[in-house]
Each structure stands twice: as structure tokens, then as C-alpha cells.
């Protein structure tokens, strides 16, 4: 499996590298192994999905990349530095499952939040807000308050917020998990377009097999107790992906392999 990962990594410069990564939480009931033996290299421009049942450590891994959790074993580098240094260097934008917009700020004000904290110049802030709102198709909604927008629009605003300060990496933790399937399809399509236009490296956590296969250049299948990687699939699908691609044999083949991987992960647990 390792060879396969190394092979894929050659397509671009490595951005995120994990070697023998493990993370154990100390809980009241004793230590819980959230992640163990994770080896993964994510190359620049990759769209990598992490898929697996709850408790497989996919969110924990994403949070470790973001330095929101500290690994207890192994090494993890982001842009060649430690995850914490990368966080301070503002290497990534993070999108959470809930949009988490501040209700007391307008959409533009919310997108401006990271820019204010990072000390961007006032004029630059305006320009960047305008640009990213256009990118997520929310131009003209800048002066609305979050509650005036639908759930899908709120999540787009939170993506704009993560894009506003031009980080090269976008980490997304089930960003569309709370949305209905129709909205989800549309946002998936828009996310792919955005990825094509910006060339960002994206780490994407999801529960949904079609979503993972539709979006990703690589799919990381994970399984729980202890959380680990069971399969890494390089997608044969082209970068240009209309929604109809989901009916092609290639798509179905990849989805099938993901499903098999998920089942294998479960087999010696149940």
C-alpha cells in the first residue's frame, strides 16, 4: 500500500506528509486509539477524500493536519514544517461541518473575519471579500445576515471565508453533511469548479461514497478501532467531471472498490 502512495505522490510536490502517525486520546475509560500507523502523502493540487464509518479517525486526521489535535506518535509535516508552524503560517483554510457564521456579522463581515485577525489592509480586505464572494457565487449577498440565507448559501459563505486569505490548502470536515442531496450535488459541482480554477490542495472528509468518488483525485478509505487507513485509491476519472459521470462504468468501478474497502475494514470488527 505504501508503494502505491509513494507512486501517486510523484505527480506533484508533497504538501502534507504523515509517517507512522498515531494519536491516542486519554479518556476517563483509559486511552483510546483514534489513529494508528497512518502513512500518507498528499501532493500539491490533489483533491483527497477521507471516507470511513464514524470513529475511523478521518476527522481526527484532518484536525491533526490543522494542528487542532497533537499526534502522539510518528511525524506529520505540512508544507515542510510542523503542523503547528503551518497553522501559524496560515497554510490552510478550514471548513467545518456547520457553517458557523457569526450571527452578528453580515456575510461580508464573516468573510472578512480571518482578514481582520491576520491584519490585512482595509482596502485589500474589501477587494478580497468581493473576489471570494464572487468565487462562491454569493455576490450581492454581502450585506445580508446569515439567518437570511439558506443552509447551502451559508456553507458557501463559510467556504469563501476559508478561501479569503489565499491559503494553498483547504481542509473540509464533512462540509455538506448537513445539507440535502440536491443542494449537496450542486455544491459538489461548484467545489470541483472552484478547485479547478484555484488549484488548491483539498482534504475532504465525508461519509458519502458518491461524494468521495465524484470529487476526489485520491480516496483514502479508513476503518475504526483503531482508526487506520485500509486503502488508497487513485481515481481514473478525468479532472473535468460533469454530474453525469456518476453513471459511467469507471465511476461505478471506483465506488465499488471504495465500498469493498469499507466492508473489509468492518469485517474483522463485527
Amino acid at each position: 500500500m505504501i508503494e502505491q502512495i509513494e507512486g501517486a505522490a510523484q505527480s506533484g510536490t508533497p504538501v502534507i506528509e504523515a509517517r507512522g502517525l498515531g494519536l491516542t486520546f486519554a479518556t476517563a475509560d483509559g486511552p483510546v486509539q483514534a489513529l494508528t500507523g497512518v502513512d500518507l502523502t498528499i501532493a500539491k493540487g490533489d483533491f483527497v477524500s477521507f471516507i470511513g464509518p464514524s470513529g475511523c479517525g478521518k476527522t481526527t486526521f484532518l484536525r491533526a493536519i490543522a494542528a487542532l489535535e497533537s499526534p502522539t506518535e510518528g511525524t506529520l509535516t505540512v508544507n515542510g514544517m510542523s503542523a503547528d508552524a503551518a497553522r501559524r503560517a496560515r497554510a490552510y483554510g478550514y471548513v467545518f461541518q456547520a457553517a458557523g457564521l457569526y450571527p452578528w456579522r453580515t456575510i461580508a463581515g464573516n468573510v472578512k473575519l480571518p482578514l481582520e485577525i491576520m491584519g490585512f489592509l482595509k482596502a485589500d480586505q474589501q477587494e478580497r471579500v468581493r473576489k471570494v464572494l464572487e468565487l462562491v457565487d454569493l455576490s450581492g449577498f454581502g450585506n445580508k445576515f446569515p439567518w437570511q440565507l439558506s443552509g447551502g448559501m451559508q456553507q458557501r459563505a463559510s467556504i469563501a471565508r476559508a478561501l479569503a486569505f489565499d491559503a494553498d490548502i483547504l481542509l473540509m470536515d464533512e462540509p455538506f453533511g448537513a445539507l440535502d442531496e440536491i443542494v449537496r450535488d450542486r455544491l459538489n459541482e461548484e467545489l470541483l469548479k472552484l478547485w479547478n480554477r484555484t488549484g488548491k490542495t483539498i482534504g475532504f472528509v465525508t461519509h458519502s461514497i458518491p461524494e468521495a468518488v465524484y470529487l476526489s483525485t485520491r480516496i483514502v478509505v479508513m476503518s475504526p478501532r483503531p482508526g487506520r487507513i485500509t486503502d488508497v485509491i487513485d481515481s481514473p476519472l478525468p479532472r473535468e467531471r460533469p454530474l453525469e459521470i456518476r453513471d459511467t462504468p469507471e465511476f461505478i468501478a471506483v465506488a465499488h472498490r471504495v465500498r469493498e474497502g469499507l466492508r473489509a475494514g468492518h469485517s474483522y470488527e463485527v
Partner: protein, 287 residues
């Protein structure tokens, strides 16, 4: 406008009960007078005689209304007989104490949220401070401050602050902690400093809690300054009116001072309510 009738109905019931109460409580004095004069009173004679006594046990509503009219409207606000004058004395101490109490409450809450040692140590003391009867501690504050030469407004304001800081601490600790873990994590991904987390997230998120606490706090501040006026020898203020009224058995004066205090509290709470609505509307949180 729909709420006018229920409010009026309740008011009428209260007035009726009040009149019944005054007749019942003031009747004894009428009977005693009659016994001394060796006459008897009929019920028809009794009722008017319970309505206009100079020192009734329970003054009738119209007596209190007349006294309020006399001391609020008909007396110059500069006169020591004016309730406006006494109300202002109490109000100024209340406002100063409320400002001190609110500032102290917010600062303590910020400390509690940011410092583990303060988190563990301040709250028990704050709670303990509120279990001490204010009537016991108020004279001591007045006496101690008098002995170091501080008199007048400030000692009363300190007592007000002592009562009003507590609801602000409790509300603000809850408010400052109201942002969920995800919102804190989001700011961490931006590398935000503690001051930025406070200014951009915790303080704005705590606004609804702050205003609720302020309403409780301002009423407590008013009680504090009235209590603070009791041990000063009844010089000025609504508390002084209450005390001198009880010295001389002027129940009408006591009741009108009580009503003035209640009206003052209602106005103060109302003002905070208006500020709350305007602020939250501007923040887009008023739905």
C-alpha cells in the same frame, strides 16, 4: 394594544383588594375613636372614615396618589419636600454604583474565563458575598468610608455596586463561554490571539446575556442605594423618605416613596430593554 385590557383588569383587581384592605386595617382606629367618644359607628359611617386618616395603617390608593401628585408635580424639584429631588439623589447613587458594578462584573467575568486560578477562586467568593444580608453590611460600609472622609454619593454607590456586580458576573461568564468549541477552533486556525478571541467572538456572543444581567443588576443597584440611605440618618433620597416616614408614622409618605422607587426601577429596566433591542437589532441578533 391587545395587552391593555388584561393589564387594566389586573390593575382594577389590585385596587379593589387595596381598598378592601384599607377599610379592614384602618377600621380599628375608627372603632377606638368611637369607643372613646362613647358613640357607635355604622358601616356607612365607617367606610368614609377609613379613607382619609392622616396616619392610616394602610393608606387608601387615592391618598397615595394625592401625595405623589403633591410631592412630584406640585412641589419644586429643588425643594426637600419634592420626591423628584429625593429620587434624583437615589438615582445618581444608583447609576454610579451600577456603572462600577457592571464594570467590575465584566472584568471579573473576563478574568474567570481566561484564568484558571480565578475560575476556581472568584465564583465562591462572589456567591458568598451575596449571602451576607445587605442590611448588615451597608451600615459598616457607610461607617468605614465615613471614617476615612468619604461621604455622600460614593458610599451608597459602593453598596449599589456590591449588589449589582453579581448578576453581571454570572451572566457574563455564561455569555463569554457561550461560543461552541467549533467557533473557538475556527479562530485557532487563523492563529488568533486571546485578545482577538475575546474581542471578535466572546464579547459579541455574550451581548444577549449581558443585557439580561444588566436588567437584574440595575434593579439590585437601586435597592442597594435605597438601603445605603437608611443608616445615614435619613438626610436625602428615597431611602431617607422611607425611614423618616416610619419614624413619624407617615405611612402615606412611605407608600408614595415605595411607588416612586418602583416607578424608577421600571424606568431603568425599560431603558435597558430599549438599548438591548436597538443594540441586538444593529447586530442582526434580534429576530
Amino acid at each position: 394594544m391587545r395587552s391593555v385590557w388584561p393589564v387594566t383588569a389586573v390593575l382594577l383587581v389590585i385596587l379593589a383588594l387595596w381598598y378592601a384592605g384599607s377599610i379592614w386595617l384602618n377600621a380599628q382606629w375608627v372603632y377606638d375613636q368611637a369607643a372613646r367618644a362613647n358613640t357607635t359607628v355604622t358601616l356607612a359611617d365607617l367606610i368614609p372614615q377609613t379613607m382619609n386618616q392622616t396616619r392610616p395603617v394602610l393608606p387608601a390608593p387615592h391618598q397615595v396618589a394625592a401625595e405623589l401628585w403633591k410631592t412630584v408635580v406640585m412641589t419644586a424639584p429643588t425643594s426637600k419636600r419634592s420626591l423628584i429631588y429625593h429620587g434624583w439623589v437615589t438615582l445618581s447613587a444608583t447609576l454610579l454604583g451600577f456603572a462600577i458594578g457592571t464594570a467590575a462584573g465584566v472584568l471579573l467575568a473576563v478574568g474567570i474565563v481566561h484564568n484558571r486560578a480565578m475560575d476556581m477562586s472568584v465564583m465562591p467568593w462572589a456567591i458568598a458575598s451575596q449571602t451576607i444580608p445587605i442590611l448588615a453590611i451597608a451600615p459598616m460600609i457607610i461607617v468605614v468610608m465615613n471614617s476615612v472622609g468619604i461621604t455622600g454619593l460614593v458610599p451608597k454607590a459602593i453598596i449599589s455596586a456590591y449588589l449589582s456586580f453579581f448578576p453581571v458576573v454570572v451572566g457574563m461568564v455564561k455569555g463569554l463561554r457561550s461560543p461552541d468549541a467549533m467557533q473557538i477552533d475556527l479562530l485557532r486556525t487563523y492563529g488568533a490571539s486571546g485578545a482577538q478571541v475575546l474581542g471578535k467572538l466572546r464579547l459579541p456572543a455574550s451581548m444577549p446575556y449581558l443585557f439580561t444581567s444588566l436588567k437584574v443588576g440595575v434593579a439590585a443597584a437601586l435597592v442597594g442605594s435605597i438601603v445605603g440611605e437608611l443608616p445615614t440618618g435619613a438626610i436625602a433620597g428615597l431611602g431617607a423618605r422611607l425611614l423618616s416616614g416610619s419614624y413619624y408614622g407617615q405611612t402615606v409618605q412611605i407608600w408614595s416613596a415605595l411607588f416612586a422607587a418602583a416607578a424608577l426601577a421600571a424606568v431603568l429596566v425599560g431603558i435597558i430593554g430599549v438599548v438591548q433591542r436597538l443594540t441586538l437589532a444593529r447586530m442582526g441578533m434580534d429576530r
